[in-house]
Symmetry: C3
Subunit: 262 residues, 3 copies
């Protein structure tokens, strides 16, 4: 089974390339409940990569949008009562079909009520939780320790896949762990790059059933696009259009070949 | 009357150019109730073209903003209870003067409650309704059939002008129909280009009384700017700044001459 | 004391450069309650310059974010009931420590209820109020007269520092006044440049105790970045990435040397 991650999480360049091919052919509809700073950029990232975003947070409508989408993103940034209500309805709608959904617990390290909500949501069966190191520390309850250990323990406890992004990303379901290196430092000087990555990751779940492989393919795609964008960027301002261009232009073959997995 | 659309909807390059001249001289104030993904980009499109945007959705304030604006945009994206309340107040304020207003029924094909609201609003006398093909299908209630026939019937039934945008745009009031070709495919890979176009179209109503001519002039302007932007763009990321630059820089003469009407 | 503004407000290039050095080293956390059109751009301006933005307007969480931030921005654009509630909680949280906060009374010239709120907030002790000429006219209650006189009187009456931005900016606390020239006209054709400037100014308060010097350093930084960006920009679209790049790249020495104070 060269086409499936083995116990060490190895996946092939070919498999990543194929996931990108299917993403662009399928044009997955991703319904996004996301934060105010990320809304426009997330929609543009999805469109550039070949997906179809919808962004409403209206509780009256969100069930209908989830029903006509392929997958759901729940991002906890700029959480407010309306978003909180919409999140509950949207997850229920996703679970009733069922459709996969992804959780991005933004800034749970900065807000105790948000952390509390994230803990509750994490037990409702997201396919993947995508976090940075600070958020992983808060959600795992283990403020110190190796990130891979904390993420693995959390993934096993919750029965989910955890993606921790940073200078080197990794994905784990507790049994398998895949590291993804590459990328470009300017990513961290642009707002909502993590948020938009999680939305894209959600889209990959509609073309790749194995959540570990879907997350790894998405993160390899993003790292490759960031590297390409960083080559010509003079700073975070010119990085953004170059990153969107790269998401749009990179061939699946280049993405697969450039991906640095470990 | 070479300066007025005839029965076939012909308008001259000169008339389009003159509308752009007046737009830039008048600097129309456009109050926008629009969706979260479109807010920033819509404001930048209006500013680049020479208009003055305001974007509040606060019910307490929206009446005052409409009173001090030239024209009103109602966009139904990311509809929520606050926007819904603000829409009602804003339309009443526009009608009391009266000032023209424009309706953009985003994603009514994806949300039954939004479609229901759009149908009610469409009967309150918008000057123009701007839609894509899917939204036209939903709002007209005729899921199949030629877009021009459906749009013409809808325009006549409501007594409004309908603009349907796509690879080729057209504008109709039921009697006259103008097609606008050109543009650039990358427009569809950037979020909120349609939303921002409708805001710009609203601005043109304050410098051109004939809604068919105003809409055609705006769409010709946008198509020309998109073509210009597409020439040098490497993807949707670099398309956006180039599009805003073109809205700012293109001379009225070039816009008039480039416009491809039929 | 060559390092402190004298009675005429003179500050040295060296002092401006040092403030930028400290900003980048400190990476100030700026909690922003700002408008929908400005949210993404403000976060990107702060990140490009070296700060750390947070943007939630949720009343339940905003106190926690302010507590873990260095400084607070209150921007009154797209004011709605939720923002209004969050503003009250956030200012109370800032004052309880105390931490400095900055007020940006966007469009108070267009909305009587917003003007009324701005007047109340201005008396709660912001360190700096940043306005354009129209907003200054409305807030000062003196619709005519020299801007510097009106700003000086307002600053003295409220015991705050006032920054009025425009083609030439100035900062005054009533006793000292510093003018900052330079910049680039395209700034005015991009939405939220003033809003984002105020957020950056808030960040400078965490590295420079004298509010007049902090505001002058920020405005000199922004003018210098705008000049640099304008050099190669073809319009407002290409100005934006170039402006963010300049905020990220410009050395403190260049900022200090380029600043044109009077």
């Amino acid at each position: 089974m060269t086409d499936t991650p083995d116990d060490t999480g190895r996946i092939s360049a070919e498999r990543i390339a194929q996931a990108v091919v299917r993403f662009r052919a399928r044009r997955p509809r991703v319904h996004c409940i996301t934060n105010a700073a990320a809304t426009n950029f997330t929609a543009n990232v999805l469109l550039a990569a070949g997906g179809v975003p919808s962004m409403t947070i209206n509780p009256e409508e969100v069930g209908g949008f989830v029903a006509s989408a392929d997958v759901l993103l729940i991002n906890l940034g700029t959480l407010d009562p309306l978003r909180r209500e919409a999140i509950d309805i949207a997850i229920a709608a996703a679970k009733s079909e069922p459709k996969p959904w992804v959780l991005d617990p933004v800034f749970v390290d900065r807000s105790p009520p948000r952390l509390s909500l994230a803990r509750t949501l994490a037990q409702r069966g997201p396919a993947v939780i995508r976090m940075n190191a600070d958020e992983l520390g808060a959600l795992s309850g283990a403020r110190t320790g190796d990130d891979r250990d904390r993420a693995g323990a959390l993934a096993q406890a919750l029965g989910v896949t955890v993606a921790r992004t940073g200078a080197v990303d990794f994905v784990t379901d507790g049994a398998r762990t895949i590291g993804i290196s590459g990328g470009y430092p300017l990513m961290a000087a642009v707002t909502a790059t993590g948020c938009a990555t999680t939305a894209l990751l959600a889209g990959f779940l509609s073309v790749e059933d194995d959540a570990v492989a879907a997350a790894a393919a998405c993160l390899a795609f993003v790292k490759t696009a960031a590297e390409r964008a960083g080559e010509g960027a003079a700073g975070p301002g010119s990085f953004v259009p170059a990153f969107l261009d790269a998401l749009h232009q990179l061939t699946p073959e280049i993405i697969g070949e450039t991906a640095r997995l470990a």
